[in-house]
């Protein structure tokens, strides 16, 4: 079995004295499509920040594979559209660590950034302002920037938030394509359970300050999800798709 890219061992996470997550044990394996889900306020962002190396654990151990390069796709809403930056300007930011301080991106960096834009289908929009792009196009620009890092781990935080259904499907299809074609390891963070379960091979579910990790099939059980969300739910599986719905207490599930 290959060495995990990131390994959490008995990790406690929080801010100051406040513990948000405790006893976190998980590994992101090479080639994983790992989905991280949990209700709002369950600690997804805290775990994500630790995964990215932004937040140090209160205790426990987080080990990263040598040569780990993380391409991070933040939530679009976090970025200020006031900045007069083109799609290409933003994708070039992914090259900055390689360029180094006091230097400007080279012609090669620009060509690579254009290639990344091409991979997400936005080569024609390279010189358009980020603020003038649609939500789906902005998401693609941020994915292209993460690819410009030449990552071996791509981490996406709520990439489908605020997108219409066709755009959501195209963005998730794009991510799946990178995973399938180049074996890129993916961590997808979302509060939308159906989305994560559709694509992830392994999942982490946050529950009462703990993290349950397992195969998607194991975790997409009514018993587990009822414990996580604290409400009665129905889970139906249609090939690779899961349909999860809250049910009235007195009602049964359609397939029950």
């Amino acid at each position: 079995m290959s060495q995990p890219l990131v390994q959490f061992r008995e990790v406690r996470l929080g801010y100051g004295r406040q513990v948000v997550l405790d006893n976190v044990n998980m590994g992101i394996l090479r080639g994983d499509f790992f989905g991280l889900v949990g209700p709002n306020g369950s600690g997804k962002t805290t775990l994500l920040r630790c995964l990215l190396g932004i937040l140090k654990p209160l205790s426990g151990q987080v080990t990263r594979a040598v040569g780990l390069r993380i391409g991070y796709v933040p939530q679009r809403e976090m970025l200020d559209p006031l900045f007069p930056l083109t799609a290409l300007d933003i994708v070039l930011m992914g090259r900055y660590p390689r360029v180094g301080v006091f230097r400007s991106p080279s012609k090669g960096d620009r060509e690579f950034a254009m290639l990344c834009l091409q991979q997400v289908g936005l080569a024609d929009s390279a010189h358009k302002l980020y603020r003038e792009l649609s939500g789906g196009q902005r998401q693609r620009v941020l994915i292209a920037r993460a690819l410009a890092v030449e990552p071996n781990l791509l981490v996406l935080d709520e990439p489908t938030n605020g997108l219409d259904l066709p755009t959501e499907a195209s963005i998730l299809g794009l991510i799946e394509q990178f995973h399938a074609q180049s074996g890129l390891t993916i961590v997808l963070v979302s509060h939308v359970l159906n989305v994560v379960a559709r694509y992830a091979t392994r999942m982490g579910v946050l529950l009462d300050g703990r993290l349950l990790v397992g195969e998607a099939e194991q975790l997409m059980q009514e018993r587990v999800l009822e414990e996580v969300y604290g409400v009665p739910v129905c889970v139906q599986r249609l090939e690779h798709h899961y349909l999860v719905a809250v049910r009235e207490v007195e009602e049964g599930c359609p397939n029950a």
Partner: protein, 271 residues
């Protein structure tokens, strides 16, 4: 030779022009980041903190430059902190600093030898009163600050636009934020006792505001902002000499007018 031309060529006006030009270049450049980072009032608050430093220096006999820079650096370290907004907004903290140090400046100056006259000077300043030996000092500092801003432009831009991704890429964003505020605060601290709070604040806001309205690329925005500041400096100084008007106010009127015209032009183009 007409009287105004004679005045224009006088060493006092020429020194003011030299000081104005470097302030315009550095202020115009840094102002783009100040406006984009939405920290316009941090600029004003830092200027006010420096002003309090000058007032204290005049009271206790320190060198005003030393005190102004020291206060500005302490202010920079304070504002570079990543303030959470759970219990109060960042704006409220900036406002509290501005008000506290405004009051402190007045109190300290009222006990000084020059009293409220000094407060008036700190607020409005007088670019025509800059001593000749200060001109080269301001240019050296200005070029130094500008060089840092230019050399670190991509890091400052990344941290300003997307601090979280910058952290994920390995940048120590608190350090970069501190470096930015250090440059800004240090610059304000050095020039405030010479040209006043209002002119510095003007250079940091108005040229960038107009530039953001008309220019579409970050490099063009910076270029137009510096050009705006230079035009307003030369035109403001010339008109103030021609019509015997207060220099700082005339320069600010030109900066505002340029920002207004550019805003109008951008609205007309967008139609």
């Amino acid at each position: 030779m007409p009287e105004w031309l004679e005045t224009w060529r006088s060493p006092i006006v020429q020194d003011a022009l030299r000081v104005g030009l470097i302030l315009a270049i550095v202020g115009g450049y840094a102002g783009v980041y100040v406006v984009l980072k939405r920290i316009v009032f941090v600029g004003a608050a830092l200027a006010q903190v420096s002003a309090a430093g000058v007032a204290l220096a005049l009271l206790v006999g320190w060198h005003p430059l030393f005190s102004a820079v020291l206060f500005a650096l302490i202010g920079s370290a304070f504002f570079a902190q990543p303030w959470g907004e759970r219990r109060t907004s960042r704006e409220a903290i900036i406002g509290a600093v501005f008000l506290t140090f405004s009051a402190l400046t007045v109190l300290l100056a009222s006990k000084g030898a020059h009293g409220m006259e000094e407060v008036q000077h700190l607020l409005a300043g007088d670019i025509l009163a800059v001593a000749p030996e200060e001109v080269s000092r301001i240019w050296i500092l200005g070029i130094g600050v500008l060089a840092v801003f230019v050399l670190l432009r991509k890091e400052f831009l990344l941290v300003a636009f997307d601090a979280e991704t910058a952290q994920a890429l390995g940048y120590r964003t608190r350090l970069w934020e501190f470096a930015f505020y250090l440059m800004l605060g240090g610059f304000i601290g050095v020039v405030i006792h010479l040209v006043g709070l209002v002119l510095i604040f003007g250079y940091l806001v108005l040229p960038a505001l107009g530039a953001l309205m008309v220019a579409r690329r970050i490099t063009w925005v910076v270029g137009v902002a510096v050009l705006n500041a230079l035009l307003a400096t030369v035109a403001g100084l010339l008109v103030s000499v021609l019509f015997d008007l207060p220099t700082t106010a005339t320069m600010l009127v030109f900066m505002s007018a340029l920002a207004g015209v550019e805003s109008l032009a951008s609205m007309l183009i967008a139609r």
